[in-house]
Symmetry: C2
Subunit: 265 residues, 2 copies
């Protein structure tokens, strides 16, 4: 029987406020067992860009990372990473901040220029993720806290979507672990009606997903999130749930009663 592993990606407004972040981390730290936390930080990066007079350029929700923007996201994401790590350690979760750069945990390559030049954006080389190194950290009772940065073979840091990082780590580690992947943010799940917080869709399968996209119910940033989720499930990840970060305790319970469960059938 495989060991169990919880992988949580936290994003959205949860990261932007110290109170929200601490409230989430307090619940996260109380969860027992092997766990990995991946965080975003896009809004804070945009704030710092603005303060420095660097225009934040986005295409379809993806950031164009020119050299100046890379400096900003490296600082912001790394800073959040240290802050989260410090708070978790104070909450008795032995945590260490990592990114793709540390121990080459997430080998990546710079995205090639297509119609759009995303600049210093990194695509993870899934087959090269060193599963044994992640396992070594987890086996020592360490909770890796992952910033959305990767590095290529030359040591160039690259901006990489946190949802994708979570999916890739989940896929790679599903060789050794039974993985539950949770995407959490400030909403209760995938909503039927974006302005009605109670309209959570409890369960989505791929066929229904296609229809929901056509209907425009699922749109924008939720599309890559769900695509990452399907990739994860197709590559052996046990369970993917999308839900509210402040209910992380309920989302991780064996019989979760909140959030949107994704499954292939």
């Amino acid at each position: 029987m495989k060991k169990e592993l919880l992988i949580v990606k936290v994003g959205g407004n949860v990261i932007d406020s110290e109170e929200n972040l601490f409230s989430f981390l307090k619940k996260f730290s109380a969860i027992k067992g092997h766990k990995i936390l991946i965080h975003g930080g896009g809004k804070l990066a945009t704030d710092l860009s603005n303060a420095l007079g660097i225009e934040a350029k986005m295409v379809d929700g993806k950031r164009i990372t020119d050299a100046e923007t890379l400096k900003v996201v490296v600082m912001v994401y790394s800073g959040i990473n240290k802050t989260v790590t410090a708070e978790l350690n104070a909450l008795d979760t032995e945590a260490t901040g990592v990114c793709g750069a540390g121990l080459n945990l997430l080998p990546a390559k710079k995205r090639e220029k297509g119609d759009i030049d995303y600049g210093f954006a990194g695509d993870i080389l899934l087959d090269k993720i060193p599963v044994e190194k992640w396992d070594m950290l987890l086996e020592q009772g360490i909770c890796p806290v992952v910033a959305p940065l990767t590095a290529d073979a030359t040591g160039q840091l690259l901006n990489t979507n946190a949802d994708t990082i979570a999916s890739c780590i989940a896929q790679a580690l599903s060789k050794l672990y039974s993985v539950k992947l949770i995407y959490c943010f400030e909403k209760d799940g995938v909503l039927k009606n974006p302005i009605d917080e109670t309209s959570v869709i409890e369960h989505i399968e791929p066929e229904q997903y296609v229809i929901l996209k056509e209907q425009g119910v699922i749109s924008k940033g939720m599309i890559p999130k769900l695509d990452n989720a399907w990739n994860a499930l197709r590559s052996g990840v046990d369970k993917v749930i999308i839900g509210n970060a402040f209910h992380i305790d309920k989302l991780t319970a064996s019989e979760h009663k909140t959030g949107t469960l994704l499954s292939l059938q």
Copy 2:
């Protein structure tokens, strides 16, 4: 016989330029054996403070870290940390970025207000440094890259002088290791005449140090650096050398022929 350990603090202009940094890291990565790298980054922090319109306040070379300044130094130092880590991994040194926060590696407390309120400045609790955790990382062939940040028991990140961090780690690990501590920057060592780069003092003992301070030969930022060095030597560190980062290969050779050697007698 104790295992050997090299601890290098790199600072000064070496950090401020990508070319200089890479040139140093290339030589550092080629050094064999257990090693730890501590970096500063004060000048870049001052640059970002200025760009954001936050006045950098210094007293006797020490930064006053108010809440806004803390945000800046956390971002800047953490960003440098990820950059250095990524480059070292690309140079085949298995490195992981850490700070006092990760794994509680450098337990600290907020400095109490005296005549001067240093704000979010952290003083390391030397006796609480978890020697076994550092040893565990080193024994796995990992080179920890340390940002000049610590955290208190509540998870509050604190700004801590990189020279002091290097000295504290060296002292703590001297229980298990024979430690060589190198402070390196853009100069060739402690200079008799600050504008004459060839006037390196080859060897300083504590008695001579007192005289050199009285004569004003050793002043400003060099005083806390040397005080950290004496503390290290008195607590069991084998050797302390101050020298040029670009000659790190020569400084670490068993018969070093460059830099200033400090010894108690």
